[in-house]
Structures are given as structure tokens and as C-alpha cells.
């Protein structure tokens, strides 16, 4: 049993979006790694991608002659439009988030607490320039907010923690965390592993202590 690559994590998220929303879903993928999820959505999933800068039914990245500087995604990467796309202004785009109209949002994270608090916008380090973008709106607005991240940071410290030490993005907003070492539910009932990859239940408990994750 080995750990999962970024693409394998993205594939697991894509699979679960399709499984939990068999009739299609409106989905926002945060900038960075979550955008990989789009590459793994099964054909005919009915998923409509929302981009915060004002578009529904966004298509894949644009290349060559298809690049249009007026058609970009939230990461400012040139993209394409699919049949049935629509454009709208920023207040409408964020009303879609804040008004609870998006089914799933996938975000990156520095830390997620056992209760589902999210920290993903600012390290708080001296000299760091804070930049929040749409993270706080997505965190509180989508019906389901999932995180895609590594389970441990480069120093080996867990990123699922009793309390976030980085500045918060939102309180109690995350329900599921997809990592290289497994998929976890967080929330009022604490941390529950749905699936483990490359780590035993014993090692997980040792490295997440004092958290006491349950294993499904």
C-alpha cells in the first residue's frame, strides 16, 4: 500500500463528486492543485464548473490559437468555454457561492482542524503579504467544502490538527479532507478516516496525537 499522487487524490475527489451527485453538480475548484480534479471527471458526469471571476461551464485550459485574454480562470490561466456556458459579473458570481448555490467546492489548505475549521489564506509569517481572494466566500458558501492537501507538511507535522495555528479562513466549514495518505471526515464528531493510503491506523494515531482518529 503506497501513498497517493496529486493526480490520484484528484481522481478520488472526481469519483466522489460523481458518486454523490449522480444528476450533475455545480462545482468550484480552487486555484492550484484542486484544478486537477477537472481532468478526472468521468465523461457524462454532468458537472458544471464555476469560476469565481464570472463563468459557468468553464472548459479546459486554452492552448495556441484558442487563447483569449478575455477568457481566463480564477488562477488567471486562459481557458475555454463549453456549450451552455454563461458569463456574469463578480457580485453575481459571489452570490452563487455565498447564497449556497454551489454543490461542491474543493480548496487547498495549510491546516484543517478536527472540527472542520480551515486555514488556507495566510501563513501569518513576518513579511508575508496577505491575499485572501475568494477563499473565505467559498469556505462558508458551498454546500460541501472539501480540502485537497498533503496530510503532513514538509517538516512532517500533521495538517489535520486539534486547532489551526495559521490565521483562519472559516469556522467549521470543511466536511471532508482528501490527502496523499487517505480521506478523512472532520466535524463535530472529530476525525474519521474513510480510507488510508500508505499509512497504518496505528501510525496515523501516533502522528495525529493528541487527536484520536477513528478508522472506518
Amino acid at each position: 500500500m503506497s501513498t497517493r499522487s496529486k493526480d490520484e487524490i484528484a481522481a478520488a475527489i472526481a469519483r466522489d463528486i460523481a458518486a454523490t451527485h449522480p444528476d450533475g453538480a455545480y462545482v468550484n475548484l480552487g486555484i492550484g492543485q484542486p484544478t486537477l480534479v477537472a481532468d478526472h471527471l468521468p465523461p457524462g458526469s454532468g458537472v458544471v464548473l464555476h469560476t469565481e471571476n464570472g463563468m459557468l461551464n468553464m472548459g479546459p485550459a486554452a492552448h495556441g490559437d484558442d487563447i483569449d485574454p478575455d477568457l481566463i480562470n480564477a488562477g488567471k490561466v486562459p481557458v475555454t468555454e463549453l456549450s451552455g456556458a454563461s458569463y456574469f459579473h463578480h457580485a453575481d458570481s459571489f452570490a452563487m457561492m455565498r447564497g449556497g448555490h454551489l454543490d461542491v467546492c474543493v480548496l487547498g489548505a495549510f491546516q484543517v482542524s478536527a472540527a472542520g475549521d480551515l486555514a488556507n489564506w495566510h501563513t501569518g509569517a513576518p513579511g508575508a503579504i496577505p491575499a485572501v481572494g475568494g477563499a473565505m466566500d467559498l469556505a462558508i458558501g458551498a454546500k460541501r467544502v472539501w480540502v485537497m492537501m498533503t496530510l503532513f507538511d514538509k517538516q512532517g507535522a500533521p495538517k489535520i490538527v486539534p486547532e489551526c495555528t495559521y490565521p483562519l479562513t472559516g469556522l467549521g466549514c470543511i466536511d471532508r479532507v482528501y490527502t496523499d495518505q487517505g480521506t478523512f471526515e472532520v466535524g463535530a464528531a472529530g476525525v474519521r478516516a474513510l480510507e488510508l493510503c500508505g499509512i497504518s491506523a496505528g501510525e496515523l494515531a501516533a502522528r495525529l496525537a493528541p487527536l484520536t482518529p477513528s478508522v472506518a
Binding site: K76, Y87, H89, H90, G133, M136, D137
Partner: protein, 225 residues
């Protein structure tokens, strides 16, 4: 006052006073009114507060305005980018103030200013450092934060086509902040790719009605009537 088609970009930003709050459209470079920004640089207003999603990319557009040192404060959601070196240097050397606003609050605070809404409660940011010191209220079991409008003295936006009534249509994701900023400033200047006569836009497809627009300037030379 109905919209006026200006002879050039300088006329569209004329009279901007020192200390003005300037709303600048665009998300990155998409929808950024670069020609109006260049005109504002020539016009020379200083001690400005700039409201925009980002804090400049590369060395043109908003970044060029920041580089003049005439911007006292930036209100934006996402200043830090791979190519925001002009802002980064000003910020790190303490020569510019920054107010970071969640992107949805930025859009909604502009919308509130344009719609005559005195303030609104939203769950965005509750419990985070960006809500510190702000009034909160529990509504339907959830903590909400009180947010106030952002009103501009001047809005500079980019649209695709205007008619002579000031009605606007935009292009793809370059629409972004244009329609809300157009409602939220005392004077609204719009740079467009072209101007058509009244009747040249489908009324059903107009995105920004002309009542919000004051000054229009076209990238294409005016055709003599």
C-alpha cells in the same frame, strides 16, 4: 446627466482630484482599463485610494499607476501574485497601505454602494482575522459580520461595446467587476473597443444600462457623423 462620448482618454478622467477613491475594474489583466489608467497617470492626481481585485500585474496598467507613488492605499482581495513586484516592493518598504477584503465582500460592498444599501451582514470572514473589530450578529444560528459599502469618486472600467446612450456589453470573463463598479462611483469612465449608435445594441442583451455611465471613450477613432 446622460453619457458623453469623450474625444480621448484624457478627457474621460479629467478633473480627478487629489485624495480621490478610484475603482479600477479588471481581474488580473482581463477587463483592466489600461488606457484610462495611463490617462490618469498623465492627469497627475495623487494621494489616491485604489479599489481593485488585484494590486497590479507586471509593469503596465494598475502596476504603472502604483509605480508613480501617487497611490496612498490599495483596497483589494488578492495583492500577492507572481508578477505583482511593483506592489510588493511598495508594501514591503512601507510606502503603501493595504486593506485586504474577501473577494465576495469587495463585490458586495461595491454593489451595496451602488444600490443605496447602508450596510449588510454576511457570514464571510466570521471568526477570522479579517472580521476583527467588526460588529457581528447571530442570524439563523450563524455568526454574521457587518460590512459597509465602498463608494468611489471615479470608476474606471473596460467594456466591449457601448452605444451613445452609455449602454454597455462586455466580453467573456473581462466583465468581472465592471457592472458593479459602474454603479458605485460618482463619475464612471468606460473604455470600450467601439461605440455604436443608439439602437446598435440589443436592449435585451445590455448588461450595464446607460444610467450608470458618464464618460465613454473608444479605442477606435470616431467616425464623423
Amino acid at each position: 446627466m446622460t453619457a458623453r462620448v469623450c474625444a480621448d482618454h484624457d478627457a474621460a478622467v479629467a478633473g480627478t482630484p487629489d485624495g480621490a477613491t478610484v475603482l479600477v475594474g479588471g481581474f488580473g489583466m482581463a477587463g483592466m482599463p489600461v488606457d484610462l489608467i495611463d490617462a490618469l497617470i498623465r492627469q497627475g492626481a495623487a494621494d489616491l485610494t485604489v479599489v481593485s481585485n488585484n494590486a497590479g500585474n507586471g509593469d503596465t496598467g494598475l502596476a504603472a499607476l502604483l509605480a508613480t507613488g501617487r497611490v496612498r492605499k490599495v483596497i483589494c482581495s488578492f495583492p500577492r501574485q507572481a508578477d505583482s513586484w511593483v506592489f510588493d516592493e511598495l508594501y514591503r518598504s512601507g510606502r503603501i497601505e493595504l486593506e485586504v477584503v474577501p473577494q465576495g465582500n469587495l463585490a458586495e460592498r461595491l454593489r451595496a454602494a451602488g444600490a443605496g444599501i447602508g450596510a449588510f451582514f454576511t457570514p464571510t470572514g466570521a471568526g477570522t482575522p479579517l472580521a476583527e473589530g467588526k460588529e457581528t450578529r447571530e442570524i439563523d444560528g450563524r455568526v454574521h459580520v457587518l460590512e459597509y459599502p465602498i463608494k468611489g469618486d471615479l470608476a474606471m472600467i473596460k467594456a466591449h461595446v457601448a452605444d451613445r446612450m452609455g449602454n454597455l456589453v462586455y466580453r467573456k470573463t473581462a466583465r468581472n467587476f465592471g457592472p458593479v463598479m459602474a454603479t458605485a462611483a460618482a463619475t464612471v469612465a468606460v473604455q470600450v473597443d467601439r461605440v455604436v449608435d443608439a439602437g446598435g445594441l440589443d436592449p435585451e442583451a445590455v448588461v450595464t444600462p446607460g444610467i450608470y455611465v458618464d464618460r465613454i471613450v473608444s479605442a477606435e477613432p470616431e467616425v464623423a457623423a
